[in-house]
Homo-oligomer: 189 residues x 4
């Protein structure tokens, strides 16, 4: 099966996810600057999630660039990733409207963890279908960034209950690490 | 007529359907774990519908893969399928917010039935326009999965009034049966 | 300029318009069949608008099929059509929630009229940029269906104030007339 | 990296932004013409923002037309533009529901300014990656329209506090200036 529609459908879903998050930025009541102040936690969580969804789109883009064919397993691994990404707007709103309270920050981290696991599963599924000697498998390499991210989220969730700002700081740090798109596929392409 | 825009438009509509369902997962009030408990029925119905929409996208993807041309009848058969799929978010929310009550579960089944009928109509329309000896017609074969699904939904709707969990169990079972994408078109391609 | 992105963007906007209309079908309160009864006017207006947006997508699809290039005027004529189509969800909800009251039915007709005018303007703009002897101009022909539709909407809006059901009947009749996609471009292609 | 998915993703996000703005046009309560009167400020701000998003899509379309490859920097510069565009629906609703009050008009101008800066950054990033002697760099030329727009927004924001209608007038004037798509890339293509 060619990969065109998988890319198009993923682009569509990710475009909608990144855009509907903004619907949580409810229009402020009132017409002066004070009306904007209560929006800050929601705005900051929107920025964080926008960057995360942007990272996933960038990396998805880069990863699929080297893919030559997809099969049924890949379609479901991809839908699984889209499922966990689709929960990000809810988790973002939960964190934002509760002004970064402990449980919402932890729940947000659980969704980030599930997204990261799903991305690794998709990568694994693609690598298996392309074979260990394929350009795709070689481009992926050792996946150290994926491993660091998984470890970081696993640490962040319990640490949030010590201090919620540790959790937020770890999410920001992982996003910063991924900010630069995945060069492995760019070079190999 | 080439099939490119039919695929692109269907991808767009299905991507939006699968994503706006998440808008029904209203951000919980409160900042502790208890705030998440009332979300479970809505979340479970979201998962079921996400899987169903994913199945339809996968099968649509596989079916169109072997299609060479589309005409006006195909465009309307496809829009008819998209119409019934577009009601799935409403049916999902009706079922989720009423915690899988009898009538909402039956209504959800009616929509699944209409989606299945519409899919068969689309398949029939495509087969007629390609001819009985086309690779497309040969790949479809006897459509036993479609027939089982239709029979299952027809049984599930009245059985829901005996016990709503029978209805839900049948919907889950049909989804599980379709979880593996339709290999007929993959092989033939 | 090639036409690919114009088609892709239009597909995206039309896909979103056709799908967000369903958001007006608010989840009914209550868990029995009676809960569904108040939804009927909204549902019927959704069906009518779904068919209309489907017609516009089909005809847009057919018309662009014969187009070879687009310029700045075409981009704006297309955006103008998308603008009036984007008001259809609001007009639909206005008509549905007011159970087909006179003024909402007339307002809906005004939007249908503006969509029809905009479609004709787009057609005119494309014809001018392709020249009167182009396959595109020949395929369009005399545009009698467009002219009948414009006349019908112009009649329907005042007639709605005699009886709102005359207005609705005319909208349904025009939709039925367009139900068959525009063969002119299919044949010429 | 090829530019196809960047275009498709941007088309998707911009299509959603231009369409979800219409969700702020809440269905009027009541069934006579008076029900429509309170919608005017929201409608006018919707029209202005629709034109602005249309301008950005047109110019994005024209600019990418001459682009041959994209890299990680371009992806992020593009996401940055989409981020500020995604705030336009919120800024539009803030301005519309407050009937063009001073602070909302100024906030709207800040978002327009950020969009314009982001567009220039994207243009700069693309020019750097294509080289100063590329057809892309030559087509961009001196960017006087971009410079006038930036200066106009910078003037409009403080002038809004003298009179909010000066701000609105400047936004309308800049939109009118951009109404004609960017011919530089059309000619060079």
């Amino acid at each position: 099966m060619p990969k065109g529609r998988l890319e198009a459908f993923s682009d569509g879903v990710i475009a909608i996810i990144i855009t509907i998050m903004v619907l949580e930025l409810k229009v402020p009541h009132g017409e002066d600057f004070n009306a904007l102040i209560p929006l800050w936690p929601t705005f900051l969580s929107y920025v964080l999630s926008f960057v995360y969804v942007g990272i996933y789109w960038n990396n998805h883009h880069h990863m699929l660039h080297l893919v030559h064919h997809v099969n049924g397993h890949v379609l479901w691994a991809n839908l699984n990733l889209l499922f966990w990404l689709s929960l990000l707007p809810v988790a973002t709103a939960f964190m934002g409207t509760n002004e970064f309270a402990t449980v919402p920050v932890a729940v947000y981290g659980v969704d980030l963890l599930m997204c990261a696991i799903s991305y690794s599963v998709l990568e694994f599924t693609l690598r298996r279908s392309h074979g260990p000697d394929s350009p795709f498998a070689k481009a992926i390499g050792t996946e150290w960034k994926e491993k660091i991210s998984l470890a970081a989220y696993l640490a962040a969730i319990p640490l949030t209950f010590a201090s919620r700002w540790i959790g937020v700081a770890i999410y920001v740090a992982v996003a910063a690490m991924w900010f630069i798109p995945d060069r492995r596929f760019e070079k190999a392409g």
